[in-house]
């Protein structure tokens, strides 16, 4: 079958914030998605997913965009259309999709409020799909966050097991409890000995 040529990728550049993450950065435009992937009434264990993005010189990156796409606590991705024109809507149910920039928190952290996903099926440990864009990156980068406190499930995960053993740790988020809040720390390293495993789709 004849294939059309894909549209080439280009960098998101440094000036995305007033369109992609306007509310987070205080620009006068609404946001369809933000740091919150859940509604108040969504069942599941609330967690915070946070981390920093590091460049090859060991500096934190202040102008990256991080997107998450994950299943709910039962392991199901949202299939119902997302409706409503602002991310602050509280009646949209479980979104499972979020987006933040790294330019507003101290240390250039990204931070999401979500729930711990359930496993999506046989041979799959609980995980969150992560998409990363930034100035200086000409392509979208894809990786996955797995939970370090799920060693048994992780040992059965087909994708994680396909990653060279010495690099698997780069995909593990580490649990930390702070004032009763459960945080998972997931740092992304563009280069260096801890370089995060990125995927070719």
């Amino acid at each position: 079958m004849e294939q059309l040529r894909q549209t080439p990728s280009q960098t998101v550049g440094p000036f995305f914030a007033y369109a992609l993450t306007a509310e987070q950065y205080g620009y006068p435009y609404d946001s369809l998605m933000n740091h919150t992937l859940v509604s108040l009434d969504t069942p599941g264990q609330r967690i915070v997913v946070t981390g920093q993005v590091w460049d090859g010189a060991g500096a934190t990156i202040s102008d990256a965009v991080v997107e998450l796409w994950q299943a709910d606590a039962q392991g199901h991705y949202r299939t119902a259309p997302i409706e409503g024109n602002t991310a602050t809507h509280t009646d949209r149910g479980f979104l499972g999709f979020g987006r933040v920039g790294t330019g507003t928190l101290p240390g250039h952290r990204y931070q999401f409020t979500t729930l711990k996903p359930g496993a999506t099926g046989e041979g799959s440990a609980p995980h969150i799909n992560v998409m990363l864009m930034m100035r200086g990156s000409l392509r979208n980068l894809y990786t996955r966050l797995y939970f370090a406190d799920e060693p048994e499930a992780n040992a059965q995960d087909i994708l994680l097991n396909a990653v060279p053993a010495e690099r698997r740790a780069t995909l593990l988020a580490h649990r930390k409890e702070v004032n009763g809040e459960i945080r998972y720390i997931f740092d992304i390293h563009m280069q260096g000995s801890d370089e995060t495993v990125f995927f070719e789709l």
Binding site: Y18, A22, L32, W69, R78, A80, I82, G136, E200
Partner: protein
């Protein structure tokens, strides 16, 4: 500065893989890639992440004038600059149109100035122009929006570096691998030969980033028109697969 591309080869005659259009992660002429590109090979996972759908956005996410950047930020008048219409289709690699694809847009104003607070270029802001918008494709994969033609602007990559006129596109399709961030350029821009971001794309694929001028789509006495079709990575799921 010399044109970056004087020695480049003529376009390839042989068909190439539909994915051979993308820039490499490391493209040293674009200096920011040096510390921000992976050094390890990417791990191929296409067979391991199959049929992962992305969220679908309904029409209710759009507000009036989201698709008209000449109107969505007016304070006391019309934005300054050349009014244009940009339209096209979003397709998968087999040519199937994709509906309900979310396209988010951002761009500089007609003077080449972004609203972003980190922007330091000494060109005027336009009080009636934000430069952000969004649109969804219809049932046949069509989208359209109105805007002001963006200006060129200088940046710090190298001495006297200028970006060609462009509009940023962020695209969320039906599948995880559909996700695309790109930039649309305008035909005949003299800065193409000097821009390492445009030049990062293999030469045979650069034309895919350049909108086509469409006289027949022009709105008489109102706006010139450009066509920009978008083809996303990934096969559409069919009932027979």
């Amino acid at each position: 500065m010399e044109a970056l591309n004087k020695t480049s080869l003529p376009p390839l005659a042989a068909p190439v893989s539909s994915a051979d259009v993308h820039p490499p992660h490391l493209s040293p002429a674009y200096k920011s890639t040096i510390l921000r590109s992976p050094t390890q090979p990417l791990m191929p996972v296409r067979e391991l992440i199959r049929d992962l759908s992305m969220p679908v956005f309904g029409q209710s996410v759009l507000r009036e004038f989201d698709n008209d950047l000449t109107k969505n930020a007016r304070i006391n008048g019309e934005p300054i600059g050349e009014r244009i219409k940009v339209a096209g289709r979003v397709l998968d690699e087999t040519g199937r149109p994709l509906s309900n694809v979310l396209i988010e847009l951002w761009q500089a104003n007609s003077a080449g100035r972004y609203v972003h607070k980190a922007e330091i270029h000494d060109a005027p802001l336009d009080p009636n122009f934000l430069g952000g918008g969004r649109v969804l494709t219809d049932a046949d994969g069509n989208y359209a929006f109105h805007t002001i033609k963006p200006g060129a602007y200088p940046w710090g990559n190298h001495y006297n570096a200028w970006r060609p006129n462009h509009i940023h596109f962020s695209v969320i399709g039906h599948q995880f691998e559909h996700r695309l961030v790109t930039q649309m350029y305008f035909p005949g821009d003299p800065l193409f030969d000097y821009d390492p971001i445009f030049q990062s794309v293999p030469q045979h694929a650069r034309e895919l980033l350049i909108a086509k001028f469409r006289m027949d789509w022009t709105e008489a006495e109102f706006a010139l028109a450009y066509q920009f079709d978008i083809v996303l990575n990934g096969r559409h799921k069919t009932p027979f697969e």
